[in-house]
């Protein structure tokens, strides 16, 4: 019951962010499906977002200055928007790849290897 009674701080959020980040990395590193890799990327971005939002929040830090203020949330917004853009393009690329190679296995996309 300790966690329940003690008030939540930035660090807890950061732990969540870290876990999401790392699982995203693992996802990127292990999935052979291009869309899986894409999901990994989303996860990573969200891990980062969690940290930003947490740092910009007034409730999570003792100093009432509210951490980095609104910057965190603004940056989080930008990250979200850009993630959307990135997803759109990535998806388009994947579909193209699928059209041309009849597969979405990233290990097969090595025509340009040295």
């Amino acid at each position: 019951m300790d966690l329940l009674s003690q008030s939540v701080g930035v660090s807890h959020f950061m732990v969540v962010g870290a876990i999401m980040f790392v699982s995203g990395v693992v996802c990127m590193a292990t999935k052979r499906n291009a869309l899986g890799v894409l999901m990994g990327i989303e996860l990573v971005l969200n891990g980062a977002n969690v940290n930003f939002v947490a740092l910009s929040s007034e409730f999570l830090t003792k100093d009432t200055g509210g951490g980095i203020g609104l910057d965190g949330q603004l940056i989080a917004l930008f990250v979200i928007v850009l993630a959307a853009a990135e997803a759109a393009v990535a998806l388009a690329i994947v579909l193209n790849f699928y059209n041309n190679h009849a597969t979405i296995d990233v290990d097969r996309a090595d025509e340009l290897k040295g």
Binding site: V26, G40, A85
Partner: protein, 194 residues
């Protein structure tokens, strides 16, 4: 007992758990579903952190837009060979080693700052909710270059030319447009003659 912490734990558990499940599951469709849940829970975390506009955005753009796109893509390519693609065990082990070490660095780093350990919300048994903040307006002003949370930070002289996030905002919007056009171009159906 503190609802704030309780909901935090709830959402944190959901998001982290499902993130891990995304990694562990090998069925691409399930992965997509888990991802959705995980991101939704993240939105909940944002609500808790008082950034409800960002949360709404997360729900709307990310979960409602990006992930729908993703699922869309999944379905377009969801054929039996691709639904579940196994990865060699060596990769798994290597990945887990590396990510474990990364985690081992990140978690202590998270707790390294003493200010961050304790939240501002009064501990046990408080009924008064945190003061309602209108983040939407503040964000809007911030995008227009007025930082209501850092009014006095800058000298008045600098405040005059302060454009805040207006320029990045515009750039991002243009970038979005370009991305949409480019995506439409990439994904267009190739009409082959005959």
């Amino acid at each position: 007992m503190n609802w704030h912490s309780f909901f935090f734990l709830l959402f944190a558990a959901i998001s982290c758990g499902f993130a891990v499940m995304v990694v562990l599951s090998s069925n691409i469709v399930r992965m997509a579903f888990y991802l959705i849940v995980s991101l939704g829970a993240t939105a909940g975390l944002f609500f808790l952190a008082g950034a409800d506009f960002v949360a709404a955005m997360q729900l709307m753009i990310y979960v409602g837009g990006t992930l729908v796109l993703l699922v869309f893509g999944v379905m377009l390519t969801a054929q039996s060979p691709f639904v579940s693609m196994k990865t060699s065990g060596g990769d798994w082990i290597l990945a887990f080693l590396l990510s474990g070490s990364l985690l081992a660095f990140l978690i202590p780093a998270a707790f390294s700052v003493s200010d961050w350990r304790e939240g501002a919300t009064p501990a046990v048994g408080s009924v008064d909710a945190p003061p309602p903040r209108n983040t939407a307006d503040r964000l809007g002003l911030g995008l227009l270059g007025v930082r209501v949370d850092k009014l006095e930070d800058r000298p008045a002289m600098l405040r005059a030319g302060m454009a805040g996030y207006l320029l990045p905002f515009e750039i991002v919007s243009v970038h979005l447009l370009v991305v949409l056009v480019g995506a439409a171009y990439l994904a267009r159906t190739k009409r082959r003659a005959g």
